[in-house]
């Protein structure tokens, strides 16, 4: 197991900057998720950890030792690729055995470990088959077994669940999380699915265009996003973002004035989560535009003087119909105010209806 430190890591290909100014420490045994949109440098970061790519600048440390120039094969890192990358010409057993062939492990000991790890991820029935004869979920487990059999000090998962169907994804999510907790191996999961990140990881690193946007627990990112990007990226259905202008304790959105707290001025964006808006006896007058029953909750898209916003209401039965008029409210503590120029959160600021 290892403690991983990124120290101002930068990776470029010609003019393309894939990763920039990446500084981050991952504790021994921690489960961290790298979350971000496509092309933000997640895979590049992972491959630098694996030793496939060398950082252009900066230092990468495992347990305090700089490993920039240590070859991939000497790092003892387990990796599961999105495409699984199983060796097509080998059976499942040979696939799992492969990493042990390059270690000084006795044949009988190697066989024992292969059987053991195969049981752990439930592929012990499939040992004789070729990868081409397995389903996506089974291939995924075999890839996991192959990464785990060498008892890696670091486990890297690059979008391991994105090729699975929704049910299997949920099962695997729980299984991987339980396995990680059991083995205690430092794990980094790459994903662009925020549900995957928030459900599995202890800590989330949200990336954008090669840089870290915010690091924190799932709650930190959801409730206390430090930037407009994180607020918009985390959460489904997404947060309501309403552009407006602030001056003299007033926040004007679409010509509609709200009372504003904190030191806010100039172009700002008001963020309110759909579940923080609720129907009340008095408030902003809104017309229901669209209704999406989602099982436990119902999502309303309504039109109001602030613009078009979404409202999430608990309960599967909905009491409103399209075209109905209703009153909306939200509370000061549930609002986030972002400076539109810097895209940063304005700390301690909020807005509410003027009574």
């Amino acid at each position: 197991m290892a403690r991983i430190e990124f120290d101002r890591i930068r990776k470029t290909w010609g003019d393309v900057v894939a990763v920039d100014a990446l500084t981050l420490t991952i504790d021994d045994g921690e489960f961290v998720s790298l979350l971000g949109p496509s092309g933000c440098g997640k895979s590049t970061t992972l491959l630098m950890l694996a030793g496939i790519y060398a950082p252009t600048e900066g230092n990468l440390r495992f347990d305090g030792q700089v490993v920039n120039d240590v070859e991939a094969r000497d790092r003892n890192v387990g990796i599961v690729f999105q495409s699984y990358a199983l060796y097509p010409h080998m059976s499942v057993r040979e696939n799992i055995l492969f990493p042990l062939r390059f270690k000084k492990v006795a044949e009988s000991e190697a066989r024992r470990r292969v059987e053991e790890v195969a049981k752990l991820v439930h592929v012990d029935e499939l040992m004789g088959r070729r990868p081409g004869q397995l389903s996506g979920g089974q291939q995924q487990r075999v890839a996991l077994a192959r990464a785990l059999v060498k008892e890696p000090q670091l486990l890297l998962l690059d979008e391991p669940l994105s090729n699975l169907d929704a049910t299997l994804r949920m099962t695997m999510r729980a299984e991987i999380k339980a396995l990680q907790a059991k083995l205690g191996v430092t794990t980094i999961l790459v994903t662009h699915d925020q549900v995957e990140a928030t459900t599995m990881a202890d800590r989330i690193v949200c990336m954008r265009a090669g840089r870290i946007e915010q690091v924190g627990t799932p709650d930190d990112l959801y409730l206390r996003p430090t930037s407009l990007f994180v607020a918009g990226f985390i959460g489904a259905p997404p947060i309501n973002l309403l552009p407006g202008e602030a001056a003299d304790g007033k926040l004007v959105i679409n010509g509609f004035a709200l009372t504003c707290e904190g030191s806010v001025a100039g172009d700002v964006t008001l963020g309110i989560r759909p579940e923080s808006v609720y129907f009340a006896d008095a408030g902003i007058r809104a017309t229901v535009d669209q209704i999406e029953p989602m099982g436990r909750e119902t999502l309303y898209r309504v039109n109001c003087p602030l613009g078009s916003i979404t409202v999430l209401e608990g309960g599967s039965t909905f009491h409103r119909r399209i075209g109905d008029v209703a009153m909306l409210r939200f509370d000061l503590g549930d609002t986030l105010v972002f400076d539109r120029r810097t895209e940063r959160l304005v700390k301690g600021a909020g807005a509410q209806l003027s009574d």
């Binding site: 991939a72 094969r73 990796i79 690729f81 060796y87 390059f102 270690k103």
Partner: protein
């Protein structure tokens, strides 16, 4: 309701039956047309081979007997025709089997009666006899041993066979090794001039090789490889390589990067990764270029004719050429027999490897 529904079904039933019958008929007609077309286009290619084999096993020195050819044809043509007809008539697998079995039985019986008695191995005298030319000439003219000579001095056919094997096999090994290394490099690594190199690979293949015969002769002479099999081998390698590299690059392109990265993190060195993980993914390509290289070396004629002089260096193609030169006027059965002997290895190779060859497409996407 019930009644109405039944009436409706009756109405639909009739045209559907008709449509289905018509579709079945069309399908058969198309199949028959397709088989007919295939037979028609392959006949001109295959018939000479059929004749060559027949002549090689039947013709006798000094006699010109074409009757056997016609008899063989009289069996072959009805056989092919019968199979063709039956393939469109038969419907079940059982019918097909018994139909073909019957046709084959008739053909075999006719063969045993009409052709078999005339077959013999006399024309394969060259396999054990170096001086077959003189013997054949004596038989022909009826003169005694030693009276007629002055023909060409032939080496043992097995020497020519071994030379061909050495030339084709050696060339194949060199091409396979270089093409897989170069193809891998071209597929995976970025370097200055990569695009230009790829383009030139194909352009190189477009030049007629014969145009270089004079400079090549001079070069081989200078480096002392003239009249040596190794010299021809290297020349052939030079001509075969560009295309082989191109094919191999296509196959390597189809191998995902991830499995290499995976092998590297699993502890394999670059060389181990190449040999144990990447190469097994491109075996079909390797087999394909090997077979083509081998056949190309086996059939090579112009370069061996130009660059090899001494008869200990003769390959099968040269042997064949001189047999034709010496004997054709006397005994075309013997020439055909040499042809059959020459043809057999490449035929066997094709049959063994055809499964892999069929998968080769430019770009190397495997089926």
């Amino acid at each position: 309701m019930e009644v109405m529904f039944g009436a409706l079904q009756d109405q639909i039933q009739k045209p559907w039956d008709r449509l289905a019958a018509r579709a079945r008929w069309m399908r058969r007609a198309k199949l028959a047309a397709m088989y007919g077309f295939l037979i028609a286009v392959s006949a001109p290619v295959l018939l000479p081979y059929f004749w060559m084999v027949t002549v090689a096993f039947s013709s006798k020195t000094g006699t010109v007997d074409t009757l056997i050819l016609w008899r063989a044809m009289a069996i072959l043509l009805p056989f092919v025709f019968g199979c063709w007809i039956w393939s469109t008539i038969g419907t079940t697998a059982r019918q097909m089997f018994f139909g073909f079995a019957a046709i084959t039985a008739v053909a075999v019986a006719a063969f045993v009666i009409l052709v078999l008695p005339d077959l013999h191995l006399g024309n394969f005298i060259f396999i054990g006899e170096r001086n077959f030319g003189d013997i054949v000439r004596e038989t022909r003219t009826g003169s005694k041993k030693g009276e007629v000579s002055g023909g060409i001095d032939f080496p043992s056919v097995w020497l020519a066979f071994a030379n061909s094997l050495y030339l084709a096999g050696g060339q194949t090994i060199i091409v396979a090794v270089i093409a897989s290394l170069a193809g891998y490099y071209l597929s995976r690594f970025e370097f200055a001039g990569r695009a230009a190199m790829l383009r030139s690979l194909l352009v190189l293949h477009a030049f007629p090789v014969l145009t270089l015969i004079v400079p090549l002769f001079l070069i081989l002479n200078f480096v002392g490889l003239l009249d040596q099999l190794l010299g021809v081998m290297l020349v052939l390698v030079g001509f075969e390589l560009p295309f082989a590299i191109f094919i191999m690059k296509g196959f390597f392109d189809a191998v995902p990067w991830e499995i290499e990265m995976s092998a590297l993190t699993d502890g394999a060195s670059r060389r181990q990764t190449f040999v144990r993980v990447v190469l097994p993914q491109v075996t079909n390509g390797l087999i394909a270029i090997s077979v083509f290289s081998f056949i190309r070396g086996w059939e090579e004629y112009i370069f061996v004719f130009t660059f090899l002089i001494d008869n200990v260096n003769w390959t099968m193609s040269l042997y064949m050429f001189f047999v034709r030169d010496d004997i054709l006027g006397i005994d075309f059965g013997l020439v055909s027999a040499v042809g059959v002997f020459y043809l057999a290895p490449s035929l066997v190779l094709y049959l063994v490897a055809q499964k892999y060859l069929a998968q080769m497409t430019i770009g190397g996407v495997k089926g």
